[in-house]
Symmetry: C3
């Protein structure tokens, strides 16, 4: 019943690729480009106009791109000015404010709230209900678990906003908060409910409030399991090294 | 104005009981059974198809049951394969992924996100915005306060998922995180913002990050109030012992 | 495309001011008063009936007011009995239960969940995804950052509910929890992920779990920045002292 063209409204200024499916009650605004093989479920808003739309009679909607093969689940609100790469997928009820750049194969979980002007790499996994403040930067293969928050205001309230940065492969466990301007390196593991207030070097295991460096994550031993981090040699589902293994894949990319 | 059959769409393969009300813009998919006396408010999706629907032309929707007398508030997304008992009620914007079994008289608060393959008992109270990872198990009369999260991945990312288990009557205060595979006993009280990383015996008061056992909850004295836990002798609103008191009710159940 | 009167439904018992715009699929229930110059975006529900509507055939919807110049973004659910002052604005998907009084120029962020019977002052900033339990009270110029929660039940579950109170100008950082009945004074700064379990005097910097008094916030020095709190002399965007500065403004109000 989703794809029966019930109440679908598409601006004549939007561009729709081949083999695109659009669900009931979904609205596609001006200057949206939907590439081939995209599925957009019901009740979505794609290309939501910016604030100035409400007051500027000359308003022109910035362009928005939904990359080839992407899947946008129901009730998404994606503002104008977003650039989603190929094969991005979202959960339900995501909110993407304006001007985010999101890499290919990245997953954005249900209820996630991306505040705009973000740079997010490829193959990231944002689980349910993460909140990313404007100007934050994620590398590739980063995972944020539910309720993780990245802030951008060091002395609230201020206009001195500084996005936090998270390096490739880093995993941030549930309910953690990354404070404004903090730089977290590659291959780190941040424990649940941490408050990260200082820069974190590559390969760190940190946790606590405020978060403290516990050890090099490569030395972290899980009882009965051995060394589990970095994680790329033991987990490949949905990753580009799914067929070859990580070592062969990374060697082929050098 | 809710129940004026405006834009309501019901699959011919759905079964609708007597005295059922369905709100505007709500969609009921294939193989959904709505039992008698159910109210479903506006903008809900009941029996949302699983992921394979998007790619499998032979897709057949699993069956979904909404038990007698249940109240589903607006904007719910309930996937196919859920089995809701009698007199379940939800807040607004709940998301129930596939294959949950939810007991009778359980309440699921606004914005809650239930990830699928859960077993939830009777008379549970999930307050706003809880997140329950797949495979978690709740007993009966369990309460999770807002932003509580139950995780299932002990070494993220992995495929070695283990649901956490919470025993009957246990109360988990706001913003707490229950880590993968942890077993919390019956009649416990978990303090706000705790991270529970180890099993917790029956009748424990635990709190902190990581959560530590503070005392037997039966010894916990609140100034001017005395012993308040277990709570069943002092609180009965909406509980099956509302008229008889807990002792008489439990005696009648033995 | 928002304001093309597509599926808009307005009760004949509602009152709509001049220069009001109402988005697609929005519903305005009985006894709602929309003042002049209000914008309500698409898919909103204004004046949502209370629980008794489902069972009482004589149900009469309490009155609801949306003050002059307010902007309600998409997917809001605003129950009957709310009184929003002038120039209030909301993000997307806010849920306002019944009988809140909300001051003028207050901002309510995306996904925020206001539980009813609240008193919220003027010029407050509630960022994304805050949860405020019933009976809580906020003064003027208060900010709650994302995932802040105010609770009201000191010994859950109970019916002995006590709202927490936050004084003028106080800032509560992300993921903090304010426990039932706690009184936080004016001009305080509460650090991220704090659990505030005791009353907090004016001008306090507190943080931690449980939150402890660290110092008088007026003595707090940020390296290279000096004294930043109280914040009103260094931040004025959107505040009534934007043109005059705080000192002149406050002097004029005495």
């Amino acid at each position: 019943m989703i794809f029966n063209d019930f109440n679908v409204r598409i601006s004549p200024k939007a561009s729709i690729g081949k083999n695109v499916r659009i669900g009931d009650n979904t609205v596609i605004y001006d200057n949206v480009v939907i590439e081939d093989d995209v599925t957009i479920a019901n009740n979505c808003i794609i290309g939501e106009p910016l604030n100035s739309y409400y007051s500027d009679p000359e308003y022109n909607n910035p362009s928005t791109t939904i990359g080839k093969g992407s899947l946008i689940r129901s009730h998404a609100i994606i503002y104008a000015g977003n650039r989603l790469g190929e094969y991005v997928s979202t959960g339900h009820r995501v909110t993407l404010r304006e001007n985010n750049t999101i890499g290919h194969h990245t997953v954005i979980g249900t209820l996630s709230d991306l505040q705009g002007n973000l740079t997010i790499g490829h193959y990231c996994r944002l689980y349910s209900n993460v909140h990313i403040s404007a100007l934050s930067v994620l590398g590739n293969f980063v995972a944020l678990y539910p309720y993780v928050m990245m802030t951008n205001d060091p002395y609230p309230p201020s206009d001195d906003l500084k996005g936090a940065v998270i390096g490739d492969y880093t995993q941030v466990a549930a309910h953690s908060t990354i404070l404004a301007g903090v730089k977290i390196g590659q291959n780190c593991l941040i424990g649940a409910l941490s408050v990260v207030s200082k820069n974190v070097p590559d390969y760190s295991l940190v946790m606590g409030e405020p978060a403290e460096l516990k050890m090099d994550v490569r030395k972290y031993v899980v009882l009965g399991k051995g060394h589990l981090y970095p994680w790329m040699n033991r987990f490949s589902r949905g990753m580009p090294w799914e067929k070859t293994g990580f070592e062969q894949w990374i060697a082929g990319n050098k």
